[in-house]
């Protein structure tokens, strides 16, 4: 079923991820096997900026790498414009590589110390083109990210972190991709430089119509850049929705907790919140039932229902009567109860001056 009309193509998602599993380690050796992604299904729409958020170890980077084709899925599939990346032939893969580019986390590791900016930027050009023409293109590529042509013959070690990340972005753009997958592109930079790079992403998205998938643990980045947010927890996608809905009025207890963990400038408030105390690393994912149940505050509030431990919640789309916009997907048996109990606890907090509940407008 090939889409015919242009608007149909525009509406068709760029990426369709279906029931994706990624397990690291050798089959048969259960002790060394790590389940990085567990039954993840998500779509990336054309022209949007999608944020993948979660704690470290949640599988957000793995998902990003699967989207670029750097890893192959253990089960399930990643479709790009309707074609499975794992099934692509050489020519098709070349085309895919030109469409989808990655921006890496650490700009100090992603540039070869032995190669000049000119070398680095020209490696994306496969065909032989004339020197003068190549030069114009390289200068253009540099100017697009706010760097000057005099930097062409310098080496990576002569640049600051922010400049390096611009070079990395410029390199990704030399093949004129339509999608950028960015893996924590600003986390290695200091705060003043982060803003510059994020502004660059925003400008590029606006000017070139890029689709951006932003892997990040930084909610400020999400707030600034993303249209939609997907929240991962221990390899499972627990919530996907419009950015404002996920951040401010989430329907998943984990998302609420994650939002409350964001620093809000008042050290006193954060330190009294009980739900952010438990370490992710300490929690081995439970074999059955909800993956978040061992840490779930909502479950406590509801009186520890048996269902959370026995049945793994299906990922389901919430009805439009509840959410403001369609397509809000959540993985929780009691998602509808979340706002009520969150408000309840917030009121208790206000009355008792004790621990606060997560997510109540503290972020903005």
């Amino acid at each position: 079923m090939e889409p015919s009309a242009p608007e149909e193509i525009a509406r068709e998602p760029l990426f369709v991820v279906r029931n994706l599993d990624k397990v690291y380690g050798r089959p048969g050796r259960n002790s060394t096997r790590v389940r990085a992604l567990d039954n993840v299904s998500i779509e990336v729409r054309r022209g949007e900026a999608l944020g993948l958020v979660g704690e470290s170890g949640s599988g957000k980077t793995t998902l990003g790498r699967l989207l670029v084709g750097f890893e192959s899925p253990t089960a399930g599939s990643v479709l790009f414009q309707g074609r499975d990346i794992a099934q692509m032939r050489r020519a098709e893969l070349g085309h895919f590589r030109n469409m989808v580019q990655m921006v890496f986390q650490n700009p100090f590791a992603s540039l070869n110390p032995f190669r000049t900016v000119r070398d680095v930027l020209s490696s994306g050009y496969r065909r032989r083109i004339r020197r003068a023409e190549l030069r114009t293109q390289l200068v253009e590529a540099l100017e697009r990210v706010g760097l000057h042509e005099s930097m062409l013959d310098r080496y990576p070690f002569q640049f600051s972190g922010g400049q390096r990340q611009r070079i990395v972005i410029a390199r990704a753009l030399t093949v004129q991709p339509s999608v950028l997958i960015a893996d924590e592109p600003v986390s290695a930079l200091d705060v003043s430089v982060q803003a510059q790079v994020l502004n660059l992403f925003k400008a590029l998205q606006r000017d070139l119509g890029l689709t951006i998938v932003m892997v990040t643990h930084d909610l400020r980045v999400v707030n600034f850049l993303c249209d939609r947010v997907a929240v991962l927890y221990l390899g499972r996608l627990v919530e996907v929705g419009e950015r404002d809905e996920v951040i401010n009025s989430s329907w998943h207890p984990y998302t609420r907790m994650l939002m409350s963990a964001a620093p809000n400038g008042d050290p006193e408030v954060r330190s009294t919140r009980p739900w952010v105390s438990s370490e992710l690393g300490a929690a081995a994912p439970p074999e059955e039932g909800c993956i978040f149940a061992p840490r779930c505050w909502l479950r406590e509030q509801l009186g520890n229902p048996e269902r959370c431990l026995s049945a793994r919640p299906e990922s389901r789309e919430l009805p439009v009567e509840i959410t403001a916009s369609p397509g809000h997907v959540v993985e929780c048996h009691f998602a509808e109860e979340v706002p009520h109990y969150a408000r309840l606890a917030e009121e208790q907090l206000a009355a008792s001056d004790g621990p606060a509940l997560p997510g109540m407008g503290s972020l903005r």
Partner: protein, 285 residues
């Protein structure tokens, strides 16, 4: 230009002149080569025939390095022997470095089952004592300068392969290699442009040590009756000839030893200097 250069392109006459070690190394290597080249065409005395000169003369103006047991001028023998030593060691190391690099890069870059098999073969080859291995090969091919060269190439190759494989493995998973792959750069181009530059510094060091061993191993083989046969001189055989009389007439070995020393020192310095010039990070000296 205040912009530092790096890579093989950075090796210019100017860069060598500006780098003390590279300059000194170049001078030493050039001197050794010139000395040897002259020795091919002219020596003060006949280096081979027993000309009836006196034995065991100590160094003098007439015989700068003295005379040996048969009364031959040792200085002339050193001049004539350089050709054998340098060509055997040089060619053997060049071949070994090339073959070893190819084996190491292929094994390290491809990985998986190929790497496992190649690594085991390399381990096996390294487990055989070098001299015994070389002896076997020379015995198989028959004693001659060519078979010594072949033998030393085959023996040295595995050391190169192992060292280079380990570097390739450490570089293979760097993010910048992944980035090139993501841009659709071909594996050959990735090896040449992204991986090989990291190999070069270690390769240079490895080559300099192998060259010194090459000169000595050629002599060892000659001493055992394989390889270049007496009376043709080589530095190694001169060293070994003098060993018996080391306490009474040390100059028998001293001249050839000095030449080996100068050669190795020159190559070492040159290698060090080139490594500095190639690495852009050390370019702002």
């Amino acid at each position: 230009m205040d912009v530092p250069q790096g890579g093989v392109r950075a090796i210019t006459i100017r860069a060598i002149v500006n780098n003390k070690r590279a300059l000194l190394g170049t001078i030493l290597v050039a001197a050794v080569l010139l000395f040897t080249l002259v020795g091919v065409f002219w020596t003060p005395y006949n280096p081979i025939s027993f000309g009836g000169g006196k034995s065991f003369l100590s160094p003098s103006w007439l015989h700068p390095a003295g005379t040996d047991i048969y009364g031959r001028d040792i200085f002339s023998r050193i001049m004539a022997g350089g050709q054998t030593s340098l060509s055997i060691a040089g060619v053997a190391v060049a071949v070994a470095a090339t073959m070893g690099s190819i084996i190491g890069v292929v094994s390290g870059f491809i990985g998986g089952i190929v790497d496992v098999i190649v690594s085991r073969v390399v381990d096996l080859m390294l487990a055989i004592p070098a001299l015994v291995f070389a002896l076997g090969i020379v015995a198989l091919l028959g004693p001659s300068a060519q078979s010594v060269t072949v033998a030393l190439s085959v023996v040295y190759m595995w050391q190169f392969a192992r060292v280079i494989r380990s570097i390739v493995i450490s570089v293979r998973n760097k993010t910048y290699v992944e980035a090139s792959r993501g841009l659709g750069v071909s594996p050959i181009a990735i090896i040449v442009k992204d991986i090989f530059p990291s190999v070069v510094p270690i390769l240079v060091v490895q080559i300099t040590t192998a060259l010194a061993w090459g000169i000595l191993d050629e002599a060892n083989l000659g001493f055992l009756g394989l390889g270049v046969q007496p009376p043709s001189p080589s530095w190694g055989s001169l060293l070994i000839e003098g060993r018996e009389y080391l306490f009474d007439t040390p100059w028998l070995s001293l001249g050839a030893g000095t030449m080996v020393l100068i050669t190795v020192l020159g190559v070492n310095l040159l290698g060090d200097g080139l490594r500095d010039i190639i690495d852009p990070r050390s370019a702002e000296k």
